[in-house]
Subunit: 152 residues, 2 copies
DNA sequence: CACAACTAGATTGTGCACAATATAAAATGT
DNA sequence: ACATTTTATATTGTGCACAATCTAGTTGTG
């Protein structure tokens, strides 16, 4: 016995799936940084813009649910996007507790400049689209199981 | 033509491999948080301890290379670990530029308490070890290609 | 209506993470 | 030997990220 744990000692850094995920996220961040600099966005800001380009005029809550982020993270980030002239923040008339996030014309226009970003990342990954699609769905499945485990 | 990009529109959030990685890293962080709280560690601090449990008395640089982190991140983190009594920071005698990081007896002792952490994470992932090992190596391969692309 | 329970955001405090810069020590070239 | 370059770490400033807490607005119940 103990053959499995001898092959994969549990406290060795290189055996940690979490570190593989963590360090890959870092690597992506560094790939994105120069590509997003042209747009004046950070990576989390880019994620928010991706959400808004799909549909805007949504409350902060919706963006947070989509990105798994809370108001403590989003409020200052959205204020920076507003200061950059990309979005507008307005209280909802129906429910005064909600702040609706809408794109400005500049925010809409930025989408065109962003269109080239995914190609750059794909090139850096040196992977086929099929490989990435399959890796992505494995990760999403794992992520959703982890999130499910949190709710217990 | 354009069939592939119609199936996978490049600016849709859910098609972004990077977001899958990013959000999975978050999910791991939340799984780890309560497990590491017992040890008085954050997740990045835990990674540093994993490195040191494999070998200590190493310069800051080595830890940084292992974890892909720079001194701006590690210096304050290591000072907090020192304040917690887990490590000692001493200038190297041979090369005065280096700060050597060594475990204290408490730092060594913490390893025993940490042994149960990976089980908790494995349980939360609801995955077999084999699945995780394979996913890990795909991620590491992708990460290393991204890092290679950075150096061009 | 009154009052408790809940919800959406904002605020504060702590801890990464990195770029840019500074400093000091070591290594190198002439 | 001395100037140049490189290297290791530290510092500062900006921007996430989340826990804990606060406020204001909404909903549910009697």
């Amino acid at each position: 016995m103990a053959r499995k744990s001898a092959a994969h000692p549990p406290l060795k850094l290189d055996n940690q799936i979490c570190f593989a995920v963590y360090s890959t996220a870092h690597a992506f961040n560094r790939i994105y940084k120069p590509l997003l600099e042209r747009l004046g966005l950070t990576y989390p800001q880019y994620l928010v813009m991706l959400v808004l380009w799909e549909r805007d005029d949504v409350p902060v809550k919706d963006i947070g649910q989509r990105l798994f982020l809370d108001s403590g993270t989003l409020t200052p980030l959205l204020k920076r996007l507003e200061a950059a002239g990309l979005i507008r923040r307005t209280r909802s008339a129906e429910d005064e507790r909600q702040v609706l996030i809408a794109l400005t014309p500049q925010g809409h226009a930025l989408r065109d400049k962003a269109k080239t970003v995914p190609q750059g990342v794909l090139a850096a990954s040196a992977c086929s689209v099929d490989e990435l699609v399959s890796l992505k769905s494995e990760l999403v499945a794992l992520r959703d199981r982890l999130i499910a485990a949190l709710g217990e």
